[in-house]
Amino acid sequence: MMKIQCFGVARDIAGGPYLTLDQLEGRSVAELRQALLRTYPAFGELVSFAIARNEEYASDEERIEAGDQLVIIPPVAGG
């Protein structure tokens, strides 16, 4: 089980600042995105969302490792 941190609208969708998913280690970020959409279909209603891995935007091909800091980044709105 890995904890994934949620901000902004992602926190509303998850119902809290973290959600958890099973069996992520070794899978790709694309697979994480698919798992999220299956478990929380409301993510599919967003304009888009990105995944941050260890404080950097993660590409779809990256593999998730044990201990990674994973964060869902819904559309940003700074400034």
Binding site: G8, V9, D12, Y57, V76
Partner: protein
């Protein structure tokens, strides 16, 4: 440049921002042009009356992304220095959400670099804005 973050001041702050502090960081005898952008909270958005805004940040990554933008602006536009300060927390109408200050030898790169920074900030920095109206609230930009 020895230190890649030389002449770069990035801050994410829970308290009021200061234009003067940003200005004093970038001013330099070799520079003739200073350009500043200040983003403030508007009372109307898409025709609806806004009561206040809440800014939430994924702080460590927001600082990293703001620093990347400031360094890119300094290097690509040949700026001398960049200050980039952003607020978090609840902001009232008229309060300041972001201040950008840049200095350069001549004025054209100062304008271009300053505008580049605010444009990029709005695309990549993990900060979110919840808009409060009399009838409820919502996260901006989230839904189509």
């Amino acid at each position: 440049m020895a230190d890649p973050n030389d002449h770069i001041d990035v801050q994410l702050s829970a308290t009021a921002l200061s234009l003067q502090v940003c200005r004093d960081f970038v001013v330099h005898p070799s520079c003739g042009g200073l350009c500043f952008f200040e983003g403030t909270i508007r009372d109307l958005n898409l025709g609806a009356t806004v009561t206040h805004l809440e800014f939430e940040a994924y702080a460590p990554m927001a600082v990293k992304e703001m620093t990347k933008i400031a360094v890119a602006a300094r290097n690509d536009f040949g700026l001398h220095a960049v200050a980039l300060h952003h607020r978090t927390g609840d902001l009232a109408i008229g309060e300041t959400a972001v201040i950008i200050a840049v200095s350069s030898v001549h004025r054209k790169p100062a304008f271009e670099g300053c505008e580049f920074i605010i444009d990029e900030l709005k695309k990549t920095v993990p900060i979110w804005k919840r808009e409060y109206r009399a009838d409820g609230s919502h996260w901006l930009n989230a839904h189509p």
